[in-house]
């Protein structure tokens, strides 16, 4: 209610006991330096977790658990909070038992152990976003889930350490007939996706580390494919095999799924690239405003086509825009962080953000998208998101004209 909205620079009348009384943590020793050889967050951060919305899927093993975007900042997604999308649950693989095969239209089919993989020259460290094409998919028909964790949380951004896939393909020797590769995982869904050879030989990585340490099990430990700027499903986890061929394989995940059914009944296939997109993460339904006066609007933007060039923010539902401040590292095909420092007068707001990338693409509205795609294409919803902020500071997912 209004009482929660503290006016600026309220003067204290009486000394704050939290200052004038000695606090426990200032007097008594805390736990030792190695109480937790692998550290965990503060107990006061226990609400900052991935969340699954169980009624969205039939099974816990073919489902998604969303990144808590509303609670994060900067450009790195902490490893333990990176969204999870499985099709057969998490494969638990001893790296000593994992093998990586290259076969098909190659001079020599090869098998690598994890030690072999890590001995390959040309190791790289690259920051990339991974967004599932189904991110925001539930929002095509209208505002639905009330929180950016749920509307936009199938995304993360980490630093990958690995070796270009090209290096492995060159070891095997790619036949001139080769035009496509098939990447296959070792999990219970044996996930497979076809990737044009040109992309495979361009910037795809075979990665084993994220943000400095080994891939998390739910992110494909010990090995995953990285397909910069392209839909997350292609970034095969628990990568066991790459085959070179001359035609796409039309696997289930690129036919039944991950194709885009448009209003005329036809379907786009091979919609690999994730277009420019952004969302305001704070304020948002899970992160209400608490005070009038100075506030910081925060959000993230990304594009599979290149680098985020600019993000504009509107506070009146798209009538007027101002350019946000992009702050911190801003890499191609990676998440950028933007801020708007604003003064809130306690009145209703309709917050939107609009990303532009260096190809000149401008994030469209949901209406613009639906004009081209209808409402049943499920994937690639990169439309502008609107949050209604009420005078009490609470926020809600809405659509506007």
């Amino acid at each position: 209610g209004a009482a929660a909205l503290t006016p600026a620079l309220a003067a204290a009348q009486t000394p704050d006991p939290l200052i004038v009384e000695k606090q426990e943590w200032t007097q008594y020793l805390g736990e030792g330096v190695n109480a937790k050889p692998y550290g965990v967050p503060s107990k006061f951060e226990k609400e900052v977790v991935r969340r699954e919305v169980e009624w969205l899927t039939a099974s816990r093993q073919s489902s998604v658990s969303f990144t808590p975007l509303h609670a994060l900042d900067g450009i790195i997604t902490p490893n333990g909070l990176c969204f999870v999308r499985h099709h057969g649950g998490e494969a638990e693989i001893d790296p000593a038992k994992h093998r990586f095969m290259i076969n098909g239209m190659v001079d020599k089919p090869l098998v690598f152990t994890m030690e072999d993989v890590k001995r390959m020259p040309g190791r790289v460290n690259r920051v990339y976003f991974l967004e599932c094409a189904a991110n925001s998919g539930m929002e095509w028909r209208g505002a639905q889930l009330n929180g950016c964790q749920f509307t936009h949380g199938m995304i993360h951004n980490v630093v990958y350490t690995g070796v270009p896939l090209k290096a492995f393909l060159n070891e095997a020797g790619v036949s001139p007939k080769g035009k496509w590769v098939l990447a296959e995982g070792a999990d219970a869904s044996a996930m497979t996706r076809s990737i044009p050879l040109e992309k495979a030989m361009d910037d795809c990585l075979v990665a084993w580390a994220m943000n400095g340490e080994a891939l998390r099990p739910e992110q494909g430990y010990p090995l995953r494919l990285v397909v910069p700027g392209w839909e997350g499903n292609m970034w095969v986890k628990w990568l066991r095999r790459v085959e070179v061929g001359d035609q796409p394989w039309a696997q289930r995940e690129e036919t039944s799924k991950y194709t885009d059914l448009l209003a005329d009944g036809r379907s786009r296939q091979h919609t690999f690239l994730m277009d420019a997109k952004s969302v305001v993460t704070n304020p948002s339904p899970q992160a209400p405003l608490k005070s009038k006066g100075p506030n910081v609007l925060s959000g993230v933007a990304w594009s599979g086509r290149g680098t985020i060039k600019r993000v504009d923010v509107s506070m009146d539902g798209g009538r007027n825009w101002r350019t946000a401040r992009i702050e911190g590292p801003n890499f191609p095909r990676a998440m950028a962080r933007f801020y708007v420092d604003f003064d809130w007068n306690g009145q209703e707001l309709m917050l939107q953000s609009r990303a532009m990338d260096d190809s000149g693409y401008v994030q469209p509205t949901k209406d613009e998208l639906r004009k081209y795609r209808g409402s049943n294409s499920i994937y690639h919803n990169n439309g502008i998101q609107t949050w209604l902020v009420r005078p009490d500071g609470s926020a809600e997912n809405v659509e506007v004209s």
Partner: protein, 201 residues
Amino acid sequence: ADKVGLGRVALPEEIKAWDIDVRPDGVGLPDGKGSVSDGEALFQTKCSSCHGEFGEGAGRWPVLAGGQGSLKSDRPEKTIGSFWPYTSTVYDYIHRAMPFGEAQSLSPDETYALTAYLMNLNDLVPSDFVLSKENFPKNLPNEKNFYDDDRETTEKAFWKKDPCMANCKERVEITNHARILDVTPDDQKDDKDQKPSAGVE
């Protein structure tokens, strides 16, 4: 490019064990065959608890048959018969991923039989059909409706030089509010009866 010499040559038996993919043109199909009726029996035992006796889906498990002609409707039903482009995908997927929880447990004959049954459920083959590598159909009815990504031409309007910054609309009205207000599973206010328009895909 110079080779480094890491890794080792894959043996034929190893490739055979992992090379389970099937292409639209049938390359990758093993020898074997299976009838619609054999498939039906297998389906009842191994699949129907989730997918329903006739592939109609039990509970929230996926629907495998029907929906023909529904793609332009408000609620399209995308199944093997109404949507998938190739028969090869059916064989490939069933073998690599089903039953859910016992992946890669089906023999080639069983997989042909189940594929035949699913095709029959989708009115694609008669009930006496026996599917094999030799008579494996390529295209399914909706194949002709797939086309490659053309966003860069069809949606070229999204490449704008100067998007509007001021007075971009006369009025702004809220056209709809969040259907599911209380999503967080941690308190008891979740409206489980309020199904979302679409699940996770």
